[in-house]
């Protein structure tokens, strides 16, 4: 009896360690492969090398992709924070006709699987392309239509918006009413109260949403894949997909290095902001699975 208990005690730990093996293996393999010339399964058989890394970081294409990916991630971050903070404020703290409807809509959209709308959004972006000035030819983001980084950013903002608004509303809900009343009595307009008194109170929320959005934008694949024509020069994800799709002969070392290159900022963020992110994921993240 005692013996059986002693055997059972480490069972949970052992079983979760075994279940987690595929995750460890994947990361480990990619990491090791970037520093070797050849591997046999999990065992490095070639010599250690930095060749894979020097190869990709001296490739101007990678830096072009990095810039694009960064612009996409930053655009999404700034956009989602601004739009969510602005929309969440009246939804949390003003009375106006249709407020309840708006909130219900946010919640419905939060659960709604937006990826199934991509075909229709393709049509929308094509129309947007034809809008003079903003459709095409903006610096950096290209415009807001089809086959522009701006269009991809806009769609990404839209898909993340229900989550952002709902999250920010929660943060606004927790601010004391007296604080806002004091500001109004001191002479603020509602806009000024928002900008100067309330937004500073929800900085943790903004940080959480911002970090989440950045990671989301940095990793995003399906939207740039669908709406950018040249996969090779779009973003890191699409380039990596092209490399790894196996249709050309692939250099596993280079592919691994690009993959790890994309992963590093994500992991760095993850290590430092786990708590924030857990609240967001727990609050009902969708997409993926």
């Amino acid at each position: 009896m005692i013996k059986r208990d002693a055997l059972l005690k480490p069972l949970p730990l052992v079983s979760i360690a075994i279940l987690s093996i595929p995750i460890f293996v994947g990361y480990l393999w990619v990491f090791m492969r970037t520093f070797t010339t050849r591997m046999y399964g999990m065992s490095p058989v070639g010599e250690l090398t930095l060749r894979n890394w020097t190869f990709i970081v001296t490739d101007p294409l990678l830096w072009h992709l990095t810039l694009n990916t960064f612009v996409l991630a930053m655009g999404l971050t700034v956009g989602i924070v601004l739009v969510s903070c602005s929309a969440a404020y009246p939804l949390s703290r003003m009375s106006f006709p249709g407020r309840k409807g708006f909130l219900a809509l946010t919640l419905v959209l939060h659960a709604f699987p937006s990826v199934v709308l991509l075909i229709a959004i393709f049509v929308v972006l094509n129309y947007l392309s034809r809008v003079p000035l903003i459709g095409r030819g903006l610096p950096l983001i290209g415009g807001v239509g089809y086959n522009t980084l701006g269009g991809v950013i806009l769609v990404s903002i839209a898909f993340l918006l229900p989550l952002g608004v709902w999250l920010m509303k929660g943060f606004f809900d927790n601010i004391s009413w007296d604080l806002e009343r004091a500001a109004l009595i001191d002479g603020c307009s509602r806009f000024r109260t928002w900008r100067q008194i309330l937004v500073p109170q929800i900085r943790p929320g903004i940080a959480a949403l911002g970090i989440f959005a950045f990671m989301h934008g940095w990793s995003s694949f399906i939207i740039p894949y669908t709406f950018m024509v040249d996969q090779q020069t779009a973003v890191i994800s699409t380039y990596l997909n092209l490399l790894a799709s196996g249709e050309q002969l692939m250099d596993y070392g280079v592919v691994s290095a690009v993959a790890l290159f994309q992963l590093v900022p994500i992991l760095a963020f993850y290590v430092f902001t786990q708590k924030y992110l857990l609240t967001i994921f727990g609050g009902g993240m969708k997409g993926g699975t």
Binding site: D178, L179, R181, A182, L184, I185, Q201
Partner: protein, 363 residues
């Protein structure tokens, strides 16, 4: 500035939080809004501030209807129970925020801040953030923030209830001193009757959204217009007993349920209610004294004795009727003993058991 409420009502959904309240605060007056929690005091105050839009009625500042004015146009200062300091600003920035919004020149701001902060003794704290200040200090900063605008009307929403007892006492004096010195019309919300009685020029008693009385503090205690006010004001609260008034023969008597009767002095004889002669007798614990049995009005059995520090609270039973009285130090009858009680009937009150209005004082 004179502030008037005319038939002010405020509904939330279908319920009235404030119902048909009318009162006027004269220039320089401090009016206390007194009532139990949830009776609509804050709602009234926030309507005056312009934060809530009245459902019905008008708010007049110097005779002018301000119903449609934004809070910032009303020229008011407000102090909150939670202090409501802006957490991301330091004390100085908190205090001058309203002047920044009005785009006043910097030197003027600094002078004004110096003036109010010295007045409140917080000159040395100006660089600190709200979280680095104690409760009392935060409240002083909040007060400075309200005063720097030189408002025409000051609103206080239970400003002292988050402070400890000693601090409360000194802040009470200070607020009153400043208010008198600056002569700013003030509305002071509190659920603490001592605060209301000691600070206010007039007290407005609210209950369930309605204004029950609006009189100077002494009158509230001495001449309560309703049974609710009589029991609400004073601690421990007034004893109530159902009696019948026997006015036959030369003198009037109040007869308790158990047959005991007490003489009513001529000059304090109540009006009779519409029907019958059953009234409710009210007498404050301080007007009941424990005396030797032969000079007593009634005999009572002691059921509970509690020391209140300086005085003792003695709870007695008079033939099923509970009566509380306050006795001096050292006068502490043993439990279950029989004592004599003397009721000072010249200070008794009478209420109509149905309408609960006073039968002594005109409404």
């Amino acid at each position: 500035m004179k502030m008037e409420l005319v038939n002010l009502s405020k509904k939330f959904g279908d319920v009235y939080a404030v119902k048909n309240v009318s009162l006027a605060a004269e220039d320089g007056e401090l009016v206390a809004l007194l009532g139990p929690s949830g009776c609509g005091k804050t709602t009234t105050l926030l309507s005056i501030a312009g934060v809530y839009r009245p459902t019905e009625g008008e708010i007049l500042f110097n005779g002018l209807c301000v119903n449609k004015m934004q809070p910032k146009e009303r020229d008011i200062g407000m102090v909150f129970q939670s202090y409501a300091l802006y957490p991301h600003m330091n004390a100085y920035q908190n205090i001058v925020f309203s002047l920044v919004l009005r785009k006043r020149p910097k030197d003027e701001m600094e002078r004004a801040a110096k003036r109010v902060s010295e007045m409140l003794g917080i000159g040395h704290l100006l660089k600190r953030k709200a979280a680095e200040l104690s409760g009392g200090q935060q409240q002083r900063v909040a007060l400075a923030r309200a005063l720097i605008k030189e408002p025409k009307l000051l609103l206080f929403d239970e400003p002292l209830s988050n402070l400890d007892a000693r601090l409360r006492l000194s802040m009470r004096e200070e607020i009153k001193r400043l208010q008198v010195q600056l002569g700013i019309t003030s509305i002071y919300v509190t659920h603490d009757q001592v605060e209301a009685m000691t600070m206010a020029d007039r007290v407005a008693v609210m209950h369930d959204g309605e204004l029950l009385a609006y009189v100077p503090p002494e009158e509230l205690h001495e001449r309560p217009r309703t049974e609710f006010i009589a029991t609400f004001i004073g601690s421990p609260s007034m004893n109530l007993a159902d009696v019948t008034v026997d006015n036959t023969g030369g003198s009037a008597h109040a007869v308790l349920k158990n047959g005991v009767s007490v003489k009513i002095p001529k000059e304090r004889l109540p009006r009779m209610p519409q029907r019958g002669n059953a009234v409710r007798l009210g007498i404050r614990p301080e007007d009941v004294s424990v005396v030797a049995e032969r000079s007593a009005d009634v005999q009572a059995r002691v059921t509970f004795v509690e020391s209140l520090g300086r005085e003792n609270l003695v709870v007695c039973d008079v033939g099923g009727q509970r009566i509380q009285c306050l006795t001096g130090p050292g006068q502490k009858p043993p439990l279950d003993s029989t004592v004599g009680l003397k009721l000072d009937m010249s200070r008794a009150h009478y209420f109509d058991p149905e309408s609960q209005v006073s039968l002594l004082w005109e409404n």
